[in-house]
């Protein structure tokens, strides 16, 4: 049971981290002022980017070392799995690298432990270079300051299998646009296929609640609110889908990866994805690729969801100027743009999305997806609350699973999830 082991580890880490981080505080902290000379040896840690982008990062680092003589950047890359555990252990052991690739929910515990440099203070001048929404995404409710440079953004359309739509008697050129359409189409799909073809493969996550228009947290960032009537409504509708097998029966244990596979095998009719998935379909499931339909994310708020990656500076680094300069170097418009051309991500720097690369169609599906995504990003929202930790995600998932199985009502499930999340929030 990887999930239970993982959550056990996470629980243990959550207990240990604040204690140990306080205990070892202040012994080897460098200057918090980033205005000094840019020099010294720093370590830069990325999250699973080595295998595919090694040349890009090697060039980037060489470029930086060339621009600032006297600096040396050591690049380390961590594998995909266990990254939160690794960060917590390094934070507790005082071995956190100087510049770290994080996402908003990963930076929150580090910022609370005083390990993330407040960039509003240390690098406020760079602020105007980024999209305001992206810069704000690394703010922690209840704390002052911004704790990471925004790096790449990701969002994507909803893919659907036209062949399956046709078989169910639905118009393959008219994919659902609203939640009401989605749910009625899904029920019809399940009915026509005798429950063999599901339309959705994932249980609702916190982002789904956000997109449905459920307020997730109160303004002060002290309590979660997704157990409101609107939240219950969404979960009740998912329960209907689950009972009709319009939500894949294995959704309770699905991961984005396993859901993607279900879509590839044609057991599921719709799946969220990104421009990259097109290549994947072409390569791994040619028959699906011929029938692929692309539509916008379904949202009741008018804002699609986006994921944000960030680059954090360790507040205990010995070479604050170099670390801040490098974090900015990695995330500046020029380097984000060249990274975006390597892989389907979107830069978080102001103006980059107006580049012809993101606005001009050239007739291919890839470009169409990219242009549409870039357009939707301009008012996209990172629905994942910064304080919604891994453990809270697990708690929500477990309660939702119980509700779908009929072991508790949707109201109870969401009340329990909110209580659990609030409790974890107070433990901080």
């Amino acid at each position: 049971m990887p999930i239970s082991r993982r959550s056990l580890a996470a629980a243990a880490l959550a207990l240990v981290l604040p204690l140990s981080a306080c205990g070892s505080g202040g012994d080897d902290g460098g200057p918090t002022d980033a205005s000094g000379k840019v020099e010294g040896d720093i370590t830069f840690q990325t999250w699973n980017l080595r295998a595919n982008f090694k040349p890009y990062f090697e060039d980037l680092i060489a470029d930086f070392e060339h621009t600032y003589p006297g600096t040396h950047v050591k690049w380390i890359d961590q594998p995909a799995e266990g990254y939160p555990d690794k960060l917590s252990a390094d934070a507790a052991g005082g071995t956190l690298p100087d510049v770290v690739n994080v996402s908003p929910d990963l930076v929150a515990p580090l910022a609370r432990a005083g390990l993330a440099l407040d960039l509003d203070k240390a690098a406020g001048t760079y602020r105007s270079e980024y999209l305001p929404g992206a810069w704000a995404s690394h703010r922690i409710p209840g704390m002052k300051g911004t704790y990471a440079f925004p790096w790449y953004l990701n969002t994507g359309p909803l893919f659907y299998n036209k062949a399956l739509f046709e078989k169910a008697g639905l118009d393959p050129e008219q994919p659902p646009k609203t939640y009401d359409d989605l749910f009625s189409d899904a029920l019809r799909m399940a009915e026509k296929s005798d429950g063999k073809v599901a339309t959705l493969a994932n249980v609702p996550t916190i982002e789904d609640f956000g997109r449905y228009g459920v307020p997730l947290m109160n303004r002060q960032g002290t309590a979660f609110t997704f157990n409101s009537a609107k939240g219950v409504e969404l979960l009740t509708r998912y329960k209907e889908l689950y009972d009709a097998k319009a939500l894949d029966p294995q959704a309770l244990t699905a991961t984005p990866e396993s859901a993607g596979k279900k879509f590839l095998t044609g057991a599921v009719a719709m799946n969220p994805g990104s421009a990259l998935d097109l290549g994947n379909f072409k390569k791994n499931a040619p028959s699906l690729y011929r029938n692929i339909g692309i539509t916008d994310q379904i949202t009741s708020t008018g804002h699609v969801n986006m994921y944000v990656m960030g680059v954090m500076v360790n507040s205990r680094t010995r070479h604050t100027p170099a670390a801040v300069a490098f974090a900015h170097f990695v995330t500046d418009a020029r380097h984000q743009m060249s990274f975006a051309k390597k892989v389907a991500i979107f830069p978080s720097t102001a103006g980059s999305l107006d580049d012809p690369y993101f606005t001009k169609e050239d007739g291919t599906d890839e470009t169409r997806v990219r242009v549409a995504a870039a357009k939707s990003l301009k008012n996209a929202v990172n629905y994942t609350p910064v304080l919604f930790s891994d453990q809270m995600k697990t708690a929500l998932r477990n309660e939702v699973a119980k509700a779908l199985q009929g072991r508790q009502s949707p109201e109870e499930a969401l009340d329990n999830a909110v209580n659990a999340a609030d409790r974890l929030l107070r433990q901080g």
Partner: protein
């Protein structure tokens, strides 16, 4: 077997002329029952090695094949070893394998030596607090690794062993379970043999080395396999203690094959096969001892 024995005497003797299928004791087995036995065995075989064969087949599939076709196709249309070469191109897989091998070998040695010595002490030596010492080993098994992993990590850092392969080996160097396995193996030896050796003037070391150890080879092999597998498969601890990608073990290194943006199943499958192959080789070498370990304790001629 007992059912068979009851049925057997009533069989008419005329059937004896047919070609007979017999079990290891020369008793006759009915064809239907034999078929049923093989069917069950095959079913279990399919369950246990099926997923592995599937990975093997996926790893051999060429780039143009539909690996998600429905119904699934088992045999690759254009078998190729290209995916294995790609694994080596993507990550320094042989360096990782070497690191894993170092860790696993060290783990086998420390576990075999440590748990044999400790097991013998707990089973055969008489001293105050032996019961309490045994209890400590049992209690040690109850502590979940995840609960103490940060404490372990800070300890390693204090010792200056974080980011070294020694740091990976040390916490699992002598497993509590292995000590108890060895203790039970030694306890099952009859006291009389050691007493005889004692009368002949053998000291504790000689009794351990000449009498005890040769009789528990099977359990030792079990410990060796467990230790090897434990070290080879471990993910969380090496991930936490190692920071430098050049020191990574295979399990962590293979995780790089799961791309951040896109996944190539063939690549992952090829990596999996590379990771599992040494385990199969080791088991094939030690399986003779492995099964003997189960029936150990009997005095051997």
């Amino acid at each position: 077997m007992s059912v068979l024995e009851k049925v057997r005497p009533e069989r008419p003797a005329t059937e004896a002329r047919e070609r007979r299928v017999t079990d290891e004791h020369g008793r006759r087995i009915r064809a239907g029952e034999l078929a049923w036995r093989y069917l069950l065995l095959l079913a279990v075989l399919a369950l246990t090695i099926g997923p592995f064969l599937w990975q093997l087949s996926t790893s051999l599939k060429g780039p143009t094949e539909d690996i998600y076709s429905s119904p699934p196709r088992f045999l690759p249309e254009h078998p190729t070893l290209h995916n294995y070469a790609r694994v080596a191109d993507t990550i320094p897989v042989w360096d990782y394998a070497l690191n894993s091998l170092k860790v696993a070998t060290a783990n086998v040695v420390t576990n075999c030596v440590g748990s044999a010595l400790a097991g013998y002490a707990l089973a055969r030596l008489r001293y105050r607090g032996r019961g309490a010492a045994t209890l400590v080993f049992v209690l040690a098994m109850l502590v979940p690794v995840e609960g103490i992993i940060i404490a372990q990590f800070t300890t390693m850092r204090e010792l200056g062993l974080n980011n070294t392969l020694i740091g990976v080996v040390l916490p699992g160097a002598v497993g509590a379970l292995n000590v108890l396995l060895m203790r039970n193996a030694f306890r099952n030896l009859p006291y009389e043999i050691e007493e005889a050796a004692y009368v002949d003037g053998a000291n504790v070391w000689q009794r351990f080395w000449r009498i005890g150890l040769p009789s528990v080879k099977g359990t030792l092999a079990v410990v060796a396999i467990f230790a090897f597998m434990g070290a080879w498969d471990d993910f969380l601890w090496p991930l936490i203690v190692l920071s430098d990608p050049s020191k990574f073990t295979l399990t962590i290194g293979l995780n790089y094959l799961h791309g951040t943006f896109a996944n190539d199943e063939r690549l992952v499958a090829a990596g999996t096969v590379i990771a599992v192959a040494p385990l199969i080789a080791l088991f094939a070498c030690l399986q003779r001892y492995f099964f003997r370990g189960v029936g150990e304790g009997a005095v051997k001629g």
